[in-house]
């Protein structure tokens, strides 16, 4: 009867749409005209620092808060005012919120009990759900007898056993150690794909967001700043905040000197000029103030590779160096006083620099991204 592998989008998972949701708590604006849409079966991550409003957004979607303005729709049905109990949305809380006085099995059975399902059916479904998260043998244990990772999986089982249209996860991996977290990331994604569940995932960990998502929505101070697939968010951040929040970046302030369409020359504050790739969606007029973002890993050590056609070159002195295993990180200061963060691959075929040494590095114009200054 219930084959989890058969996906029928209209039956199972819903299309989520948030229209211009706004919410204030007293003087604090938690959400400011937030709009978002998630396609059926899609995994979207809401990424942002604490206080960005992402948890509030989640609560508004789940129904634990009501937006002051705006709407929430699932499959085009307006659920904005609907009681959380009737929204058919599965949610995994940050602290799992497992009922401490109930066994694992009763916890997972809870939503089915509330829906008045016959006992025999409940038992079957619960077993299925527990098997899917590989906890079948722990059904009679109490939550406090389980490890963090196991509690997590119970929370997942409980949130999905009643075949919700939408799954919400509120920073679920915060309490887990790194290895376990990476494991859970894979497991959750696998489960989600198998069930074809539309999923909204909240986190402040940008690496997690990049790894897990179909699309990422970056939030700050109650606004959605950018939505897009991970590589777009990473390579083409729309504004300084996004650029800075995702990964590390160098942000150089300067003024447009000349715009040749494909190449734009920017004169940095500190003096030197660099060539930056032009953007079709950004009209860089001479005299306009801009920011140029260059990711540290885009630099090339010119001592190792002097012939590479790099348009831009920096010569400076290493002030700090760090060995991170995968790469070497350097803080370089140029004679003009520009502070640059560089990452060079480490290994036998690459040179390692120590503090005080001179270094010459270059980067393509294509690796430099123009960001408008509002």
């Amino acid at each position: 009867m219930n084959n989890d592998r058969v996906l029928s989008a209209s039956q199972r998972s819903g299309r989520l749409q948030v229209d211009a949701a706004s919410k204030r708590f007293g003087h604090v604006t938690a959400l400011s005209e937030v709009s978002l849409s998630v396609a059926a079966g899609e995994f979207v991550t809401i990424l942002g620092p604490s206080g960005s409003g992402k948890t509030t957004l989640l609560k508004v979607i789940a129904g634990f808060e009501t937006a002051d303005f705006g709407r929430v729709l699932i499959d085009h049905a307006d659920i904005t005012e609907l009681d959380p109990a009737q929204r058919n949305i599965g949610m995994v809380f940050q602290n799992y919120a497992l009922f401490p006085h109930m066994s694992v099995a009763r916890n997972v059975a809870y939503p089915l009990t509330m829906r008045g399902m016959p006992k025999a059916d409940i038992a079957t479904r619960v077993n299925q759900a527990l098997d899917m998260v590989e906890l079948g043998n722990l059904a009679e244990r109490l939550p406090k007898q389980l490890s963090g990772g196991q509690q997590q999986r119970v929370a997942l089982a409980r949130a999905t056993v009643f075949q919700p249209r939408l799954l919400l996860l509120d920073e679920p991996f915060g309490a887990l150690d790194r290895k376990l977290r990476e494991q859970m990331q894979i497991e959750v994604r696998r489960l989600q794909r198998r069930l074809g569940l539309t999923t909204l995932f909240i986190t402040h960990d940008q690496e997690e967001a990049l790894v897990m998502s179909d699309r990422i929505a970056v939030m700050d101070k109650g606004r959605v700043l950018q939505v897009g697939p991970p590589n777009e968010i990473y390579e083409a951040p729309a504004n300084p905040f996004v650029a800075d929040f995702i990964g590390e970046s160098n942000m150089f302030a300067g003024m447009v000197e000349a715009n040749g369409g494909n190449l734009v020359r920017v004169r940095l504050e500190q003096g030197p000029a660099i060539e930056v790739a032009g953007r079709a969606d950004l009209s860089a007029r001479p005299g306009q103030k801009v920011l140029v973002m260059v990711r540290p890993e885009r630099f090339v050590d010119l001592a190792v590779d002097p012939n590479s056609a790099r348009a831009n070159r920096i010569d400076g002195r290493v002030t700090e160096s760090a060995y991170i295993g995968v790469s070497d990180k350097y803080r370089v200061v140029t004679p003009e006083g520009i502070d640059v963060l560089i990452r060079l691959p480490s290994g036998p075929s690459h040179r390692r620099y120590s503090a005080g040494e001179p270094i010459a590095a270059g980067f393509h114009a294509a690796d430099a991204r123009l960001i408008a200054v509002q």
């Binding site: 959380p84 109990a85 949610m91 919120a97 009922f99 401490p100 006085h101 809870y110 939503p111 009643f162």
Partner: protein
């Protein structure tokens, strides 16, 4: 560094502490233990050591209708106080913890007022009011007065229990499809039960043991403490010792029951 010395110093300090506390515990328990041999004494005076073994003081208690009536009165009043204190206290605690309204902090601080006001002052104040209203001697009057005294304790215990309560559990229950009543029934109340039991226990004890208010307003229908007080003042025979001994046994049994059932009656107090 005199590590050796410090280690040993810490050791003797610890031993001294233990000895001192042992003495203090003896100080705490000794008076209570003393009552038992007296209650079994065959002599009429508070003599130690008792001249012989006898159960007559216990017999005296069970055969005397005034003692039994007083006991019944105390039980009745105690039960009523407990129910009333919980009925009033539980909503109050929820309102204080979950609500956000002006004056909330004021009410929360003000709830302790009956504890701070000197017991005797409140007692005669209520006595004055009750005698005007003709409520002297009515068991429900005593119960209501006791509720005022018990309420702060009930609220303190419930507040700490509620504040420890993880509200995300309720949210989870609602999100999983439980209506507000179902969520309260299946999640909130079972988890809050220990606090409610503690609060109930406290309310009952407060009423059952209460003397000063009862002294004034229980009139002819004495409560047990009032009867005991009269007995102490008027006679030297140790029937009171028997009653006291029984009370101690009862309390010990309740405490043991509490720990055995793993309902830490005292834990919610320690905040």
């Amino acid at each position: 560094m005199k590590w050796q010395g410090r280690q040993r110093g810490a050791g003797t300090g610890r031993i001294l502490l233990r000895v001192a506390c042992g003495l203090i515990f003896a100080f705490l328990m000794l008076p209570l233990l003393v009552l038992f041999p007296i209650s079994f004494s065959s002599g009429s005076y508070l003599r130690f050591p008792p001249p012989g073994f006898s159960l007559k003081w216990y017999e005296r208690y069970f055969n005397d209708s005034t003692w039994i009536d007083a006991t019944y009165q105390s039980l009745q009043v105690g039960a009523a106080t407990t129910v009333l204190a919980l009925l009033i206290g539980i909503p109050l605690a929820f309102g204080l913890v979950r609500g956000r309204f002006r004056g909330r902090a004021l009410i929360e601080n003000g709830i302790s007022a009956p504890i701070i006001v000197p017991h005797i002052v409140l007692s005669i104040a209520i006595y004055g009011l009750f005698s005007r209203l003709g409520l002297i001697g009515e068991w429900y009057g005593i119960a209501v007065a006791h509720t005022v005294l018990a309420l702060p304790f009930v609220v303190i215990v419930l507040l700490s229990g509620l504040r420890d309560f993880d509200t995300s559990l309720e949210l989870a229950a609602r999100g999983l499809g439980a209506g507000p009543i179902d969520a309260a029934r299946t999640v909130t109340l079972p988890i809050l039960a220990p606090s409610v039991y503690s609060a109930a226990f406290l309310a009952f004890i407060t009423s059952f043991d209460e003397l000063v208010v009862a002294m004034f307003i229980s009139g002819a229908n004495m409560t047990l403490p009032k009867k005991m007080f009269d007995s102490i003042m008027s006679e030297i025979e140790p029937t009171v010792a028997a009653v006291s001994a029984m009370q101690i046994v009862l309390i010990s049994a309740l405490l043991l029951l509490g720990t055995w059932l793993r309902r830490p009656i005292t834990a919610p107090l320690l905040r």
